[in-house]
């Protein structure tokens, strides 16, 4: 009894102690279980600081509607300051490196060379691709001896099928290893425009399929001709954002009008969606449940996506300011961030970018700022475990899964992770138990099949031996009887 009371008091003391990290976090982490219901979890990432351009250098002033964020191979951070027609480059310690607002073109300085730049991409050769929205071009710049030089530009393609009043307004730009340039252009529904490295139009890439909707069809059936004309044409959605992973596959997001479709796509070099999701009840579109009306209501709108290490990817929801991180199997690993005016919360999130294992989030409201999230112990363990699993080292991942289970008992992935490692180690019965806990039906089935084989191999010989014995006894008995009483039968016959 006394033990129980002390234990209870200890728990109270622990709960009241200020060391808890979660208490300082302005949001609650969560994930979804097998059935698609929300399960609270510890925060995987916490905001550690937020800064604006004035923190880097007071003369820079504020951002005006910044639209994009990029981190290059040397860990320099690029902020696309849309409203101020400039790109600001700085490093992780907030040292200003460069401001791009003009460039040398054939030896001549072009002042204010950018007009409303919207997106940016920096190749491994440090060529800077900028989607220069109001100049209607993608401009390629190069830095030589600290001076920014014009390399080339990609202008509107001269192709059939575009409307007469079409304006080439590039929003996002991306370059793959082969030098192909991908451009998301405003009001182009056919897909992402792709160009060769010389700027020649190659074709559309990764068209979004139009989903058929019974309710819309029924409405259209009831509408008059004039109403149909007034109504929006059923067009594919526009792409919101894109990022390229280490294998050259392109992650994209778009707004979906059907809640069971993924908002994220992973396009292979042929432009086909190869995103993997093994979950039946969790769709890759952010929140599975939401308020229908009121503030911060409606489905998630994923406006940015980034490819991360080991097959992970994160997507940013502009409705609720949250960042969803999925692994290569489509499991939702963790969710963090949120809307609000507390320190570390966002109000108008625009873009996310990874720098090492930390995440930067661009908040465009007001003066504009960047929020720096760092992984907690919990998040770090998940990242490591996923890295091990992705590399095929389930045996080494189990150590992290076991720690995760002690941190968060409700984290199904950890249970199934332990189960998978047991399966790899050959303990099928134990694996079945853990995989059931983690609701990992696919791997449960594998463990079950192996266990079934073991059981059958163990018991079937005995069963068959017993059967043989019975048959021998039966036949032997018959022969015995026939020998003993055979004569009488013959006499009777």
């Amino acid at each position: 009894m006394f033990k129980k009371i002390t234990a209870f008091l200890l728990i109270l003391l622990l709960a009241a102690s200020p060391v808890a990290v979660l208490a300082d976090t302005p949001f609650q982490g969560y994930t979804y279980n097998f059935w698609g219901t929300l399960v609270p979890s510890p925060a995987a990432y916490v905001p550690i600081r937020s800064f604006g351009l004035h923190n880097i250098c007071p003369e820079l002033g504020d951002m005006a509607d910044p639209t994009d964020l990029h981190v290059d191979a040397e860990n320099n951070i690029y902020v696309v300051d849309w409203g101020n027609d400039r790109i600001v480059i700085f490093d992780m310690d907030l040292n200003l490196i460069r401001v791009i607002d003009g460039y040398y073109r054939y030896g001549e300085w072009v002042e204010n060379g950018l007009r409303r730049p919207h997106g940016i991409f920096v190749t491994d050769d440090m060529e800077i691709f900028i989607a220069d929205e109001h100049n209607n071009r993608v401009v390629v710049l190069n830095v030589i001896d600290g001076d920014v030089h014009f390399v080339r530009e990609i202008l509107a393609p001269d192709i059939e099928g575009l409307e007469d009043d079409f304006v080439f307004s590039p929003l996002h730009v991306l370059v793959d290893r082969g030098g192909r340039v991908f451009v998301i252009v405003r009001h182009v529904f056919e897909g992402i425009m792709s160009f060769s490295d010389e700027g020649e139009f190659l074709g559309y890439f990764g068209t979004i399929e139009v989903s058929f909707n019974w309710i819309d069809m029924a409405w259209r059936f009831l509408m008059t001709e004039a109403q149909i004309e007034f109504d929006n044409a059923i067009l594919p959605r526009e792409f919101q954002s894109m990022d390229i992973d280490q294998y050259g596959f392109i992650f994209t997001t778009h707004i979906e009008n059907w809640h069971l479709n993924n908002q994220v796509m992973r396009l292979n070099p042929r432009g086909e969606d190869v995103l993997v999701n093994f979950n039946d009840n969790v769709v890759i579109n952010g929140d599975q449940g939401y308020r229908p009306t009121g503030p911060m209501s409606g489905p998630s709108v994923l406006i940015d996506v980034i490819a991360r290490s080991h097959g992970k990817y994160s997507a940013l929801d502009s409705t609720r300011g949250r960042v969803y991180t999925y692994d290569s199997e489509g499991n939702l690993l963790y969710v963090f961030g949120g809307m609000g005016s507390l320190e570390g919360m966002t109000r108008m999130p625009r873009a996310i970018e990874m720098i090492g294992d930390d995440m930067l989030l661009l908040d465009s409201l007001g003066r504009g700022r960047i929020i720096h999230y760092a992984p907690t112990e919990y998040g770090r363990l998940i990242n490591r475990a996923i890295a091990m699993r992705y590399g095929g080292h389930e045996r080494y991942a189990v150590e992290y899964w076991r720690q995760l289970v002690t941190l968060d008992e409700n984290f199904a992935l950890a249970w199934s992770g332990i189960g998978r490692s047991l399966l790899a180690a050959g303990d099928n019965v134990g694996a079945m138990e853990y995989l059931r806990q983690g609701m990992d039906v696919r791997y449960f089935s594998i463990a079950f099949r192996r266990n079934r084989l073991d059981v059958m191999q163990g018991t079937l010989p005995n069963v068959f031996t017993a059967g043989m014995l019975l048959v021998v006894l039966f036949v032997g008995g018959k022969i015995y009887y026939r020998v003993k009483f055979g004569k009488r039968e013959e006499e009777e016959a």
Binding site: F34, W35, F444, S445, F448, R452
Partner: protein
């Protein structure tokens, strides 16, 4: 043991249960015997219904994780039973109300009996399928689903036969009657919802008068 008492002896249960099994092989003759030769009894009807409910609960509880990823927190056999019984009663009532306007010969009792006698395939497939599921992996789960859907399809077929015989319809008229039955079903559900809403309005009205009087 009460079930046994209702039937007299254990042997009697089997003799009573012969007709449902006969219906499975010779549906038209069987349903004819059930209705016109007064061979059918409500006892067997209810026994069949209870067997279905029990096997449904067994399936919910014991089918393997692979075919039945149930959340143990939301598993509720009772609410499933309520749903099945409600659906059955609604279908019977709406079928009765439609067919009595369409020269159907069946009484409500006959329709109910036809429905429940037709449930024998479900009784015979659900439990074996549940047992089978515990020996199947994900690739082989098709066998489980096949067995289950064969049971359901045969049930639907028997219901159709039963309604044809009980109402003395031709096949086309029976199909038409079943379609109308679903319309009637929707109307009944709509009326029930309407009634509940009205009752609630009435209650709120009375309650506000009561509170007004209390505050005077």
């Amino acid at each position: 043991m009460t079930a046994v008492k209702a039937f007299g002896t254990v042997k009697n249960i089997f003799s009573y249960y012969k007709l449902p099994l006969y219906i499975m092989v010779r549906p038209f003759d069987g349903f004819y015997e059930m209705k016109y030769l007064q061979q059918g009894t409500l006892k067997v009807s209810f026994l069949n219904l209870i067997l279905v409910l029990v096997s449904y609960a067994i399936n919910d509880q014991y089918a393997s994780l692979i075919v039945n990823p149930q959340n143990p927190l939301t598993l509720n056999s009772f609410s499933n039973w309520v749903m099945i019984i409600t659906a059955l009663v609604l279908f019977c009532v709406s079928n009765w109300s439609v067919t009595s306007l369409m020269d159907g010969e069946g009484k409500l009792k006959d329709i109910f009996m036809a429905m429940t006698y037709a449930m024998t395939p479900l009784v015979l497939t659900i439990v074996p399928a549940t047992i089978l599921s515990n020996f199947l992996s994900q690739d082989e789960a098709g066998f489980y689903y096949m067995l289950m859907s064969v049971g359901v399809a045969y049930f639907v077929f028997l219901v159709f036969c039963g309604l044809v015989v009980v109402h003395n319809y031709g096949a086309g008229k029976a199909v038409f009657a079943i379609l109308l039955t679903f319309v009637a079903l929707l109307i009944i559900v709509f009326l029930i919802t309407l009634l509940l809403t009205l009752w609630q309005q009435l209650f709120v009205f009375g309650f506000s008068i009561y509170t007004e009087l209390m505050f005077r």
